[in-house]
């Protein structure tokens, strides 16, 4: 008869995306403020790095991409409230699948098209051959 316990225990297994657990007004506002502060910090850093001569130039694109990914993470946690908690498993799995497709499409396209560009005969030579 211990099965009964599990039934009631599992009642609140899931949380809708964007939904916070039951928290007080103050802590919810504080959460958004914290997210806003972190996002402003990361945005300001990326705009600063893009225009500065202070850092090694080839590192700039990498820094911008890393800062962008960090800021997306901040938005997902503080604004969309997608967490790694057990009540969020479905949301995180859907997000993970979406990200897989995004990386396949973007990475695959740029990789393949870059190689095609390298391996193609330059356009002016191609025109010569067709004459």
């Amino acid at each position: 008869m211990s099965e009964q316990v599990h039934g009631t225990h599992n009642h609140h297994l899931d949380v809708a995306p964007g939904e916070e657990e039951h928290r007080s007004l103050g802590s919810r506002v504080l959460g958004y403020l914290l997210g806003l502060g972190l996002a402003i910090l990361l945005t300001a850093t990326s705009f600063f790095i893009a225009g500065t001569d202070l850092v090694w130039q080839p590192s700039i694109p990498v820094a911008i991409v890393v800062l962008a990914i960090a800021q997306m993470g901040v938005h997902i946690v503080f604004f969309l409230h997608i967490t790694t908690g057990p009540d969020n498993t479905n949301n995180v799995l859907a997000l993970a699948f979406g990200l897989l497709i995004v990386f396949l499409v973007v990475g695959g396209s740029i990789w393949i098209m870059d190689h095609l560009n390298h391996n193609m005969i330059p356009m002016d030579q191609l025109m010569q051959m067709q004459r």
């Binding site: 599990h6 995306p17 911008i64 938005h75 604004f79 969309l80 995004v102 740029i110």
Partner: protein, 211 residues
């Protein structure tokens, strides 16, 4: 039978079969999850625009490149507007949960103003580019640029229409359960647009100016 039931309980330590007895999830969770799936598919669609832009970014056909065209000060203001609108949208979600009509309408109105300011700056930028002879038909790079950034702008426009609809619905019908679900979905949509804008300003504007 009880022996089978006990064995079943032990063979299922993660309670995988407990869900069979629970019935469907509450409607708010089903709606929110369904909208989350839509948002992810929207993000996949944006990734196609990003891939196109990434492939075509160098194909300027002798025309201007991003570094010659982009005004980073304008982009910084656009970014600030969209970020602040995301914050006020969060305040509107809290007000909706608290069923506070006044704060909900104020936060949503401020969100709409920030969004409209963003759209106005983007429109001015686009008109300026076209007048300088750098319209979408100038080169493959500019076609991809206008498609990607314009698609995001269209999403923001649709978001503002949805926002105004939600203000009117709350005004006319109050915080009913179905209206609350629509507010949840709208907030998800608006925050997701801000995430896509982070990718746009980093990849298109900052990388385009830095390289």
């Amino acid at each position: 039978m009880s022996v089978v039931a006990m064995a079943h309980g032990h063979a299922d330590p993660h309670h995988l079969h407990a869900a069979e007895h629970e019935g469907p999830a509450p409607k708010r969770i089903v709606t929110g999850f369904g909208f989350w799936i839509f948002l992810l598919s929207d993000i996949v669609m944006f990734s196609c625009f990003f891939a196109t832009y990434g492939v075509l970014v160098g194909e300027t056909n002798g025309g201007p490149s991003g570094a010659q065209l982009f005004d980073l000060k304008n982009v910084a203001i656009e970014t600030a507007l969209l970020l602040l609108s995301s914050f006020t949208c969060g305040m509107a979600s809290i007000a909706a949960d608290m069923r506070n009509n006044l704060w909900f309408q104020i936060s949503m109105a401020v969100t709409a103003l920030f969004g409209a300011g963003f759209l106005a700056l983007e429109a001015i930028e686009f008109i300026d580019l076209v007048e300088r002879g750098a319209g979408p038909s100038r080169s493959a790079f500019l076609s991809a640029f206008f498609s990607l950034v314009g698609c995001h702008g269209l999403h923001v426009s649709a978001g503002i229409l949805w926002l105004l609809t939600m203000m009117a619905q709350v005004f006319a019908k109050g915080f009913r359960a179905d209206i609350q679900r629509r507010i949840l979905c709208f907030a998800l949509f608006w925050h997701a647009l801000d995430i896509i804008w982070v990718a746009v300003f980093s990849v298109v504007y900052l990388l385009g100016s830095a390289v």
